[in-house]
Structures are given as C-alpha cells and as structure tokens.
C-alpha cells in the first residue's frame, strides 16, 4: 500500500515538474520578458541591467531550476499589465473562483446522483423520461449558452437575479472573501453556480444511471434476488454501493474540469475570479499570469487525481488486496 502511494506521489511530482517546465518555456521564450516589462524610452543599458537582475542571462537550466523553485514558493514574478506580483493578483481572485466551484460541485452531486438512481430504477416513468430529455440538453448545449439563457430569463425578463458580479462579500480571516453570508452575494451565486453545475450534473446523472443499470444486470444481483431479498435491500444495499465505486473516480476527475469551465462561466457573468484574470492575460499577452495559472491548475488537477486514486484504492477492497497479497 505504501509502495502504491509512493509510486503515485512520484508520478504526480513528475507530471508537475513537466508542466512546470512547459510553463517555464512559455514564460521565457514567448516574447521577450524584458521588453514586455519596460517602456519604449528605457535605454539598452537599463534593459541589460534588468536582464541581469532577472537572471535572464544565466544558462537555461539554471533559469529553469530557479523558475521551478520560485513556483514552489508561489513566487510567479510580476504581471506585465498590472505591474504587481502575480501571486497577489491570483490570490485576490482565488476565493471567488473556489467558492463558485465548490457550490457548483456540491450542487451537481446532490442533484446528479439521486436523479441518476431514480432514472435507473424507474426507467419507464414519465419523470425519468423528462430527466433524460433534460440531460440531453444539459450535455449538448455549451455552458455559455446556458448562462446567457439564464441571464435572459432571470435578469432581463423576470428581473429576479443580478446578471453580473458577486454581490456583497464578507471578509473572513486575512485572505478569504465569501458571498455566502450576504443576500446579494447569495443571489449572485445562484445563476453562475447552476450554469457551472449543469454540465457536470447531467454527466453524473447519466453515468450513475448507466452504471446502475449495468449493476442491476449482474449475476450477484440475480443471486440476491434468488435468495428472496427485498427490492429495497437489493437496490440500496447491494446495487448502490457497486454503482458508486466507479462513479467516484469519474466524479473526482470531473470536479477538476469544473475549474476549467469556470473560466467560461466567469466570463458570462463577469464573475471576478481567476478565470477572468486568465482570459485577460491571454488577450494582453501577459505571460507571467498565464504561466502561473497553468501551473496552478495543473497542480490542482494532479492533486485531485492523486486523491481520487487513493480514495478508490481505499474503497474497493479488491484493489486494496491486490496491493497486498494473492487470494487463498
């Protein structure tokens, strides 16, 4: 078991280093960092000075190493546009994105799993068919279209909810800001989180449904039925457990992609999060922010993957045993 964990850790670190090197390449070789940072009037001498200061005249390997070490300390340099440390810029916006992503994840799970179980067990009911139709729409339509639709309905026509921004936020501790504690904050959270959650929700629902149907066809369910166990026991004691185990993996990985889709949602709703910052940085060729965002997101994904792998190994006894010994 320990060997397994170590192996996964090493693999994760390997991926992180690889991504870090890509980020470094981007940082160093896309455009000229010095020219991006200074004005036109700056003399050649001053540029050379700056170059030396930044260590850009050192051998590439040393630069790469420094980049990686700095990154590990969350030092990503200074933004070209804003002339502020990238870490501060991202840090200021992180709570907005994380809060949105968290709410959306919980929503997608809380709605997706029960709907999936329901549509599997009551295949032919009208409600199940409705869910199926809705799921097709949820999975087909691009996120931004759904966002715009919601805005049109609830902000323009009904005027119930705000169409942009985060509302009033409350500061917690030195860093975190939350919109959960204010009325306007909560209202602002509704549409973006639904938009963000919809795709995942339908994905989870379809997955749970497919898995459950598959499990219900298995031999051990047939044998359980043959032993006269109640449908309730079969559905919730036997089938559900077996359904959820493979679902966990996928759900865990999907949580990561919520972060990716948050970029889109933040754009639609002018949500002041990391995603918006990243997009701006692309528009303005602000490489330090781009590189930092890439590294951050990659790290998050790698960590999530690692955790999911470990959870899976903990939950499925077959995997646990495979890691230890052979059957008697």
């Amino acid at each position: 078991m320990i060997a397994f964990i170590l192996r996964r850790l090493l693999a994760s670190i390997g991926v992180l280093i690889a991504v870090g090197l890509i980020a470094f390449a981007m940082f160093r070789y896309v455009g000229d960092p010095v020219n991006q940072m200074v004005g036109i009037e700056t003399s050649v001498q001053e540029r050379e000075q700056l170059r030396h200061q930044l260590g850009l005249d050192q051998p590439t390997i040393i630069q790469a190493a420094r980049f990686l070490i700095n990154a590990a300390r969350f030092d990503f340099g200074v933004s070209y546009q804003f002339k502020q440390p990238v870490a501060d810029l991202i840090g200021a916006r992180m709570p907005a994105t994380l809060e949105l992503a968290l709410v959306a994840s919980i929503l997608s799970l809380a709605a997706g799993v029960p709907m999936g179980v329901f549509t599997a067990l009551h295949r032919d009911s009208a409600l199940a068919r409705l869910f199926q139709a809705l799921s097709l729409i949820g999975i087909s339509l691009p996120t931004f279209l759904i966002g715009i639709l919601l805005i049109y309905l609830f902000a323009v026509v009904l005027r119930w909810l705000p169409s942009f921004g985060r509302g009033d936020v409350v500061h917690i501790g030195s860093w975190w800001t939350t919109g959960l504690l204010t009325a306007s904050g909560l209202k602002s959270l509704i549409m973006p989180s639904i938009t963000l959650a919809l795709f995942q929700m339908t994905l989870i629902m379809r997955l749970v449904r497919a898995e459950m149907l598959e499990v219900m066809r298995s031999e051990y369910i047939r044998f359980a039925r043959a032993r006269g166990l109640s449908e309730r026991a079969i559905h919730f004691h036997h089938a559900l457990k077996n359904t959820l185990v493979p679902v966990i993996t996928v759900v865990g990985l999907q949580l990561g992609s919520i972060l990716a889709f948050s970029i889109i949602t933040e754009t639609v709703f002018a949500w002041p999060g990391m995603g918006q910052l990243f997009l701006q940085s692309i528009q303005n060729a602000d490489i330090p922010i781009m590189a930092a965002y890439l590294l951050l997101i990659a790290s998050l994904f790698v960590v999530i993957n690692l955790i999911v792998d470990l959870i899976y190994a903990a939950v499925d006894p077959r995997l646990r045993i495979q890691l230890h010994r052979a059957p008697v």
Binding site: F223, A224, R225, R227, G228, L229, P327
Partner: protein
C-alpha cells in the same frame, strides 16, 4: 407430506421476439418428491436452466411462462404476485448458479451476505444470525469459519466460493434446491468435492435437489431419478440406474453409447449424427426424429410422455398401437 414436493405440468415458456413468440419449453412435466435428487440432463440449449428459472420465478423478459402449472407442496406458484414469490425464494426454494466468481457481491463481506439472507427469512437477532452463518460456513467445509466469515469473495478460491454459494442457498432452509450446473465452471479436481458437499448438506437438512447438468457421470453418482431433456421437451424420465442401464428413448440410448468406457477396446466414439435443432427450427412432430435411427411414420406426430411402469419416455416406440400400425404398413 404426501404427494410430490414439486409438481410441474405441461410447462410452456415462450420468448417474445420481433418475428413472433419463440417456444423454449414445450409441455415439460415432472415431479420431485420430498428429499429426492432429480437430475435434469441434456445438451446446452435443451432448456434445463430455463426450467429451473421458471420454477423459481426468475425468467427475464422477454421470456415468460405461457402455459402449464408449477405447484409447490400442492399450491400453485407459477402465477403468484411478486411479493409472494419473493417470500418463496430463498425460504422454500433455493437456487445455485453456475459461476461462483460472479455470484457473490465483490464489495460485501461474505458474512454480511449470509447474515442478510438469514435475517430476511428467519426471525432471529443479528448475533444469532452471525452464529448461524459461521455454522453454515463450517457445514460447507470452509476451514476456520469464524475467521473467514469477514473475508471478501476475492479472498476465496473458486471451489470455496461455490461452497459459500451453497451455504447462501441453503441458509434459509428451503425444501427444494435448484442447482444449475453447479460444477461446470470449476476445476475437475474440485467438482467432486462440491457435489459431495451439496449432496450431504441437502440430505442432512432434508431438502430435495433439482440437479441440472450436462454431465451424465455426476447424475449417475448423485441423483435418485433423472429427466433427460431435448429441444425444450422431456425425452425420458425414470430412476437413474434403470435409465443408465437400459435407456428407453433413442436419444438417451445415443447419449449412453457416446460415453467412453475403459472396458471397450479402442474404436471410434459413437456419435449421434446431426445436432439438436435450434429453438426456432424445431420440426413438427418428434423433435429428435431427424436424427433418430429408429424413426418411423408415426414420428411425424409429436409423442406424449408415455408411462412405462414408473418410467416415462416420449417415444412412439412404446405405444403398442403405433408400433403395430407401422408393422402392418
């Protein structure tokens, strides 16, 4: 108890297909007495498993019972509402499936699966159910049952798993156990052990067994009576020793002749020419007629199961009138 434990009369099972209903079992009739071991033997596709599934009410759609009667201890069970059928399963009829690797839920401990079944059918407390579960594991021959009861299925070998399956099928103490090819998926060396476990346990608890298999050898050793199935119908039924020694139906005769023995000197294995017809292509009349070495004119009409003493055979050869009529033409 007087009368048979299980009585099957004219059982007809159909599958609804796009091209119309497909008859899989056509007029199957037999009895099982309390505590008796009835072997049901036949080739793959003859309908043996379907018969077992129909009896315990586990036919998957599009299959359905289209006719006939199934009675357990005198009461009909073929058309019971689902809730009542659920009561019967496990408590009065148990079933053992072929593949022990897939019969057990891989994510639940076998102790849980056992106690759950016991609790569903017997009014005992949790602790008592666990004690019983341990006892059952011991009865099927699992060593150190009190330790292994908390194990997961993949920690057991195939033979051990099938023992657990037998324990699961019997732990609610049903009067009838249907064993659907219980050894087919196991190593040859283990097969004999499993059969003996099954036999001893059912004898000890007074349960009857419907032993479905294609292995005539197992039947000869284990069963009291045997029913031979062919193309969804019963070809012959009778006491095991009589059927083996003196088969009546030409199909059974062919089966017996095809079994190699050590005494006979090396010559070609006798084969029954041709193959059993697919369900969609069963000829009218006797299903075996196209392959039968003793076919005659009357065989164009389907023979009923004729009683010859306390044996039965579905063959016109045993109808004196038919034979006589044939001699004359």
């Amino acid at each position: 108890m007087t009368g048979p434990l299980l009585s099957v009369r004219d059982l007809r099972v159909e599958f609804a297909t796009r091209k119309g209903p497909l008859v899989a079992l056509d007029g199957v009739s037999f009895d099982i007495a309390p505590g008796e071991v009835l072997g049901v033997v036949g080739e793959s596709g003859a309908g043996k498993s379907l018969t077992g599934l129909a009896i315990i009410g586990l036919l998957d759609p599009p299959g359905r019972i289209a006719g006939g009667e199934i009675s357990l201890a005198g009461k009909r069970i073929d058309s019971l509402p689902p809730a009542q059928m659920r009561d019967i399963r496990g408590r009065r009829i148990g079933i053992i499936f072929q593949d022990p690797m897939t019969s057990l839920n891989p994510l639940l401990r076998i102790g849980d699966q056992l106690t759950e079944t016991i609790l569903a059918h017997k009014s005992v407390g949790r602790r008592e159910a666990r004690e019983r579960a341990i006892a059952w594991l011991g009865e099927v021959g699992i060593p150190s049952p009190e330790k292994r009861i908390d194990g997961y299925p993949h920690e057991f070998s195939g033979g051990m798993r099938q023992r657990v399956v037998i324990a699961l099928a019997l732990c609610a103490e049903p009067a009838l156990v249907i064993a659907d090819e219980p050894t087919t998926a196991l190593d040859v060396s283990v097969q004999a052990q499993i059969i003996s476990v099954l036999k001893n346990l059912t004898r000890r608890h007074g349960a009857a067994v419907m032993l479905i298999t294609h292995d005539m050898g197992v039947i000869a050793e284990t069963a009291d009576r045997v029913a031979v199935m062919y193309a969804g119908r019963i070809a012959e039924v009778g006491e095991v020793h009589e059927v083996v020694r003196d088969p009546l139906h030409p199909y059974t005769q062919g089966l017996m002749a095809a079994i190699p023995t050590l005494e006979v000197s090396a010559r070609r294995l006798a084969q029954i020419p041709g193959a059993m017809p697919r369900l969609s292509a069963i000829p009218p009349g006797c299903a075996f007629a196209p392959r039968c070495p003793r076919v005659f004119a009357r065989c164009a009409e389907r023979p009923p199961l004729m009683a010859i003493g306390d044996r039965g055979a579905a063959c016109w050869l045993y109808d004196r009138a038919a034979v006589a009529a044939d001699v004359r033409t």
